[in-house]
Each structure stands twice: as structure tokens, then as C-alpha cells.
Symmetry: C2
Subunit: 536 residues, 2 copies
Amino acid sequence: MYPKKLIHQAISNPDFPVVETKYGKLRGTWTDDCYIFRGIEYAKAQRFHLAEEPDPWEGVKAAVNYGPVPPEISTRIPGDAFTEPHFWYPQSEFCQNLNIWTPSIGTDKKLPVMVWIHGGGQEHGSAIEITAYDGEELAKWGQAVVVSVNHRLNVLGYLDLSSYGEEYRDSGYAGMMDLVQSLRWMKENIKGFGGDPENVMLFGQSGGGFKILELMQMPAADGLYNKVSIHSGTGKDTLFTKENAARVAEDIAGYLGLERKQIKQIETIPFHKLAKAVNYAYDRFTERTGKRLQWTPPVDYKRYWGNPQMDGIRFREETKSIPMLIGSVLGEFVSSAHHNSQDGDINTWSPETAEKKLSERYGKYKDKIVQEFLAAYPDKTPAQALFVDVFMRKPHKDLCRMRAAEESGAVYNWMLSLDMPCYGGSTPWHNSDEAYFFHHAEYFESEYIPEVSERLQDEMAGALVAFAYTGNPNHVGLPTWKPVTNKIPTMVFDRKTEIREDYDDKLIELVTKAGALGPGGKGPVRTYGGGPRERV
Amino acid sequence: MYPKKLIHQAISNPDFPVVETKYGKLRGTWTDDCYIFRGIEYAKAQRFHLAEEPDPWEGVKAAVNYGPVPPEISTRIPGDAFTEPHFWYPQSEFCQNLNIWTPSIGTDKKLPVMVWIHGGGQEHGSAIEITAYDGEELAKWGQAVVVSVNHRLNVLGYLDLSSYGEEYRDSGYAGMMDLVQSLRWMKENIKGFGGDPENVMLFGQSGGGFKILELMQMPAADGLYNKVSIHSGTGKDTLFTKENAARVAEDIAGYLGLERKQIKQIETIPFHKLAKAVNYAYDRFTERTGKRLQWTPPVDYKRYWGNPQMDGIRFREETKSIPMLIGSVLGEFVSSAHHNSQDGDINTWSPETAEKKLSERYGKYKDKIVQEFLAAYPDKTPAQALFVDVFMRKPHKDLCRMRAAEESGAVYNWMLSLDMPCYGGSTPWHNSDEAYFFHHAEYFESEYIPEVSERLQDEMAGALVAFAYTGNPNHVGLPTWKPVTNKIPTMVFDRKTEIREDYDDKLIELVTKAGALGPGGKGPVRTYGGGPRERV
């Protein structure tokens, strides 16, 4: 994704590296002991229809450049690209493409396949949106095949037009079924890239986590993966019912002036016009429900069984045995919001300044929260208690307990609490764990701490890779890590990584009671990083 | 611009690194012995008006993230991002910001200031568009202050509305005057960043070269720089006369339905609507002239004296003494076009295949051209003769001779002819020299050749830095380099760099005669890299 200092000469020749797939030959790039294939078309799709297998080709096709990324209704601009380095890329609705990083081709190594599913809700983002998603270091260091997938988002991925006729019965599932199609492609083709089609781990952050849980609730994905790793990506969310979905479709068709019998036109209308209609529908949705529309596939208890954390919904029997590695970071959006403030260096605030800010956020719970924070994180300062997330942490713990209670596959829980070095110090923010899980923290100015980062990324990426190999994240660099039972043993990744059991229950409870669920204590704000959104 | 493997911990704290400017304090980032200040606002501007000094501020302002880049009428998508790695970034017409890389702040080092002016004609691009424009390595290795500047482009930078009233008398110069304003900012503020305000070199590639020549023809820029380096960026171009400019303004206002007295509305119309009108005007311009509209400031012989290579126009007396370092690369757009082809590895074509292609491009001149090519480049193969640029090389040589004949400041000429390692071999393409001039070729997969690249970038960046220090590119790593007289001694950068005098005159003459001026021999095609342009 980004230029790295090369050791060897990269090779991208007409005849090397070349891999044969079911559809034809692909040539990629070999660079410093990693083979990279970018922008591989895994499917083709017509708007509002399910993706199908790609067309075969003659000769050797280039897989050297990234493919287009999915269109966004409005392109996200992070408030702080320093802590969340971004990579924008041309968008196209014909975005069914994936990228592969592998240490081995043309062998029978059967390396585990680690499939990265990006975040940004189901509205934003791409397989290459954030520079941390580059898979080269993880593939080489972990000796695994890393794959990242682009798939349709927002209106293109989830608009349910089923009430407009049989032709559109699947349109609400198009985005998730792109992902399924990519997994089918891997099943058939990943062997040529050194991967084991029978050992596939899904891992994703934020919206990527939500999408993984959705795949677990979709029968079409059964058998295409056998373990999942969810980073800061679960919660009880607005349920996108069939009724909600139908109303959104009506709002959009209405705005576009399309009668029922004209609905076919919605397939060819320019995307920027469609996007305007979507913004109109967003506003109507918020008027009706008081919430922001969160795209998901509509729940039909057939193709999609719904968010397992909602009342009355459970995990499907078919995915019960899937082992799960799950965790979040100490600051999440609370830290991100601070990066945009003019508040200066939290680690040099006077005690009075810190007190004042803690009172603003926590009110009468301030002292108790600071006490519980220091009990949970004894090496931290009172001021850092200001930057504690519960919006993610709470539902993650709930999910851990739920899986354990249902006697599902093993669940392992982690927390990243490392004080980051930028801006004079910051608790880890939403997405800051990926520089570590992808084993390249030393490329991130806002996150790299010499010696500390090298060890920590060995621990974190090591856990992820061990889990991808075996379904168990334990490795020699870590204390013994037991799965969740009625207790939650959490691997707290920090300068001194250790296991702590049920260590922050009281803290989470108090912060929740104080109503300080999101940035600034004003309740949950789903900003996905805090940046402004430009409307079309 | 892109993450680099860090050695030290980067520091971006509220109190370090901080530099005081005329308008207030700025804090940047210190990373591996380089201080980086990104997105510094050097001016503020209202649409179609000249930029003014920015507002002062209290406290310390962050200069950690890049600022927005200039809006493009249609965003350029390079056909091959592998050979031209790109960095897209959010656009805004409030794009008057610059980036600084410096090895030294808070000292009195008075390092030379190297001001990068990006290409993309005057239509496209940004200070950070191509990853090669990252100034960190050049600043550290060269011990110089590197600055890159965003400024208004296309309609926002050059629409001449002067016939609509006195208020808009300067609108056709807004983009170039942004650049002038940035140079004024440097004059007043660069000392705090370790720079010498009296030693400023402009360097630019492609459109960046054209913009430098325009600055030389604009009295407003006099005294703000004292040397120029032009890379693949000159030519006789469509003259954007006052009459042409006025017609374009009428087409745009007409499309928008604006009467003369309503013209003020053009300042607030959303950019995407304005862009539609611009596309309309482009088509009208092409109908009238048979050419593509190339934005430049209109020639009024007062604010702008016109392209010095056009008939009847000369350099202004005031810039005669400016020394010039100028050159281009062997393949330019001819190579870029080949990267998009399915033609395979040029270095393993059979003699018959090469013959056939040479005949297609050069017709009856084929044999003579191959003969002259091998005389000019004895280490190359006949097939490589297919990828020779004259579209850039010819006017560059003409400019060299013109400056020398006018007894201007010294002119030094170079050529980059290194066979690049990607796709089985490729003559250097348009923009491929920047990875070398910025001294970080080892970050570019398509360009890095171990040992060769390290030496070559020492030679090339060394010449650029020596020129920035003294106005003379000679350094201990190069053969003696004399300025142009009635002869052109060219420093041919390659595996074995050497000076060759008037070595390719016959080759250029023959290719020109064969009519093979651009990619595929179909005459000049101004694609700026060959990618498709998506219309708004």
C-alpha cells in the first residue's frame, strides 16, 4: 500500500511471479520476500444484484495495481490523519476485488489464510483505506496468507428492493454476499497462493467486526471460514428490520421520482444522484427513529438471522463451534475526539485541570471512577481516567459471556491499554491496535515506541497468527491465556502485558452509570473517527 | 506522506517541535532527525480573488496533518499506480497550504530552500499527489529545507473574469499568485525552519516546470527565488490569450445561466456544478481550436509575459541571470503508455516482434532510428528504441540553446536513461526521475535496483542539492558538467553516468520526422500519465 524501504529489487515481470487461478493466470509483484497480488477480481456484479463468478481470461492478467474501492455516499475525512493515516483511492461500484500478501507461491505449504474485513460501519472504508491494513509485514513475519477484500457498502450493498419484485429479492444482501463470494473464490484458488482453503480466519475491526458477526448469522457463509477475530467491533445496534429497509427503499425511489414499474432505472442512475437520494433517506430515517441509519442486511431469518446481541436473537447452531478472539482498546472514540481538541498534553495537565475535566465528564462519579480506573490500570495517571471507552468494552464483555454461557467455541479476550506517544500521550484510539496486529507499528509516527513496540507487536500479531494457525492465541511470548468461562480473563496488552480477570467490571459499570458513553460524555456518538462528513 | 520504518520515536507534543511564524506558533512532528510541518496555511483566499495573508492566531496551532489539496475538475486516475504511486487526499478550494521538511529548527543554519512545485498540467495534481514528493529523505540527506506547495488549479486558479468587472481583474492569476504568496510567506518565515530566505530554488516536474517558467515571466515573483530546476516540463503550448480566456469565461457563465450582473453568484456555486460548466467549456474550446484547453494565466504583458518559447515572446530581463538545471527522461509518456499495454516484456521480445513494433511506430525511418538510437545509447537494445520521447526532449534542448544564446544565467542539461526494473524492463517514464531527485528510490518497487539506485540517487539528488546551494550542480560524485553554450553537454544519468555533447540531435530529428511524437506514434497526446479521466 505504501512504499517501504526495499532490500531486494522488486520483481514484476510478465512471467514472474505468476499464479494460475480457476479463471486464468495472474501476475503480481515479488518484493522483499513477499508476493503481492493486488486488485484481483473475485466476482462481477450488476448494481442491486448478487455477484457472480468472474469471466475467465486468456494469457496473463496483471494484479499489480489496487482495484477500485467501494463508493461512499460521502467520503470520510478523518479529523486526524496523523493518528489514523489514510489512503484514499478511486471508487467504483465494480469493486469486487481482493489483495493477497503471501510468503509462498507454487508450493504446498498450506499456510493459514487471514482474511481482513475492513471497518467504517457498513457505510465507509475499503480494504486499503487505512495504511495499517497493508498485509506485507504480517504475511512475512507470521508466515501466513493475508487477504483483504473490497465489497459493496451502503446503498449499493444493502438497499432492500425486494418489495419491488422478484428480480431484487437479494439486493439487501449484495454487500455481504460479495464477501461470501470472495470466500468462495479463496476456497477454490487460495491454494495456489500458498494458503490452506480449509483453515481460514476472518479478522476485522469496527464495522469489520460487525460484518464478521453477520457472516456468522448467514448460512451462505457456513464452511468458508473456521475462526474469527473481532477488534472493537460489536454492540447492540439499530436493527435494520425488513420494515425499516422497505421504508428506506421507498424514500429513495420516491426522491428519485421512480414509480414501481420504473424501478429498473435505479440500476443505471449515476451514483452521485443516487447518493443524494440516500442522504434524503438518511434524514427521513432519523426523523422516524431518532437514530442514524446503520446499513446491515435486513433480518429475514433465512439469509440473515440478525445481530446475536439483540434481544431474542442468538447465534445459529452452525457457528457455535467457531473459536473467537475478541477485544478492544482503552480509549476508542473518546481518545480520537481528544486528538481534535486544543486541550494540550494530558500528561502534563495540572491536577486542577485534570480534576475539572474529570468532573465535566463524570460528575458526581468522578472520584469513584478515578479510584476504579487506578485499580484496573495501576500504572496510569488519574488524568487518563478521562479517556476510557465503555461504548465498545461493555458489549464486547457481554458477547464474551454470552458465547461462554452457550458453550460455544473458545473465546479469548484482550484489551490494548498502551499509552501512545503522540500529542504528549494518548490512550489508544479506535483502530490504533491494527498497527500492532499487522506487525508494523514501527511505520506509524503516532504509535511507535522503540523497543516497546517491537515486543508488543510480537505479542499481539503473535497471538493473532497463533489463533489463525490453531484457534488458540497462546504463544511462548505471552502469559497463559485461558478462554472465557463465567469469568473473563483479559490479556491486557501494555508495557507489561498480563492476564487480569474481571478487572474492569466496576469501572465500566460506573462510567456507564455516569452516562459518559461517548466522546465528551454526551452519549454515544458514532463518528467512526471523529472527522467531518462532507455531503454530496 | 507515507509511513516509513522509524528508528527513533517520533515526537509531536504540544510543546515540541514548535516554530514561531509571523502569524503565530506552529507545532509539527520530529521523526528520525527530520522536522515535518504539514498543511501550514500560507494564505487565505476567496474564490476568484487573490490570496491574502492568513489571519494571526493565539497559542500553538497544529501542523501535523496535510492540508486539503486543490479541487480537480475530474480526479485523475493513473493507468498504472505501480509505476506512479499515488496519494489521493481530500480536496478543498481553501487549499493554500504548504509542507516543510527540515533537518534543523531554532538555529541560524540558513540552509538552501528547495520549493517543490507539482505537476499535472495546471489542471491536476497536488503537493502530495505522488508519493515520490515526500521531502523527508531529501531534506535529511541533502541538509536542505524542502517545501511543497498546494495552490489553486484549473478554473479556480485561472478563470479570467476580468471582463465582468474590476472586482475580478486578477481572477486569471489567482493560482499563480497563490504560489507567489507562498514564496512571500517563505521570505518572511522560512528562517525559523532553518532556511535561508535569500537562497530559494524552485524545482518542478511536468506542469511544475511550466509553472516555474510562468513565475519567471511574472514580475510579482521577482526576488522571491534565485534559481530554477525544471524536470520534463517545457514546450510550446497552446497560448491562453486574453481573447481565449474571455471566451472560456463566457462559456462557463453561459452554461450556468448567469447574466453579467449576476456574476457574483459564481463565487458560491457548489464546485461540482462549476465543474460541469467547465467540462462544457472544454468541449467548446476544443470545437473552436481543435486543441485541449491548457489552463495558464492569460498573457497581458503586465502581470504575465507569456511562454518564452512561443514565437515573439522572450524571457524578461529581470530573470535573465537565473541559473537553470533542466532535463527530461528517455521514455516519458511513450513508456507510460506501454505500461498499460498487454505487450509483455520488451527485453525478451523476439527480434521479429521488435522489428514489427518498430516499423509500426517509425515506418520507413525505422532502421535509421535504431542506428541513431544505438549510437546515442550504445548499451541499449534495438527494441528499446521504440520508447524514445521527443515531445519533451526537443523543447528542452531548444530552451537550453535559447537561454545560452541570450547569455542568461548558466543552464545545465541532464537526461535520465536508466532501464527500470519493472515489467521486465522499461525506459524511464514521465515522473520516474522524482524518486531519484528526492533521494528515496529504494522505496519504489518499480524503480529500485540494489546498488545502482543508491549510487544514482546520490548523483541526481546530489546535483539538485549542489545546485540549490550554489547554482552549480557539479559535485564530487559526477564527471565535470559544463553549462550549455552553442553545444549542449548533457549529463546522461544511467548505470554509468557520463557527459555527452549534442549526442542525440540526429535521433530526435529522425523521430520527429517519422511523426512519432507521442505514445504509439499518433502525435502528441497530453495524458499526464495515460490514465482515464472520469468526468463529473
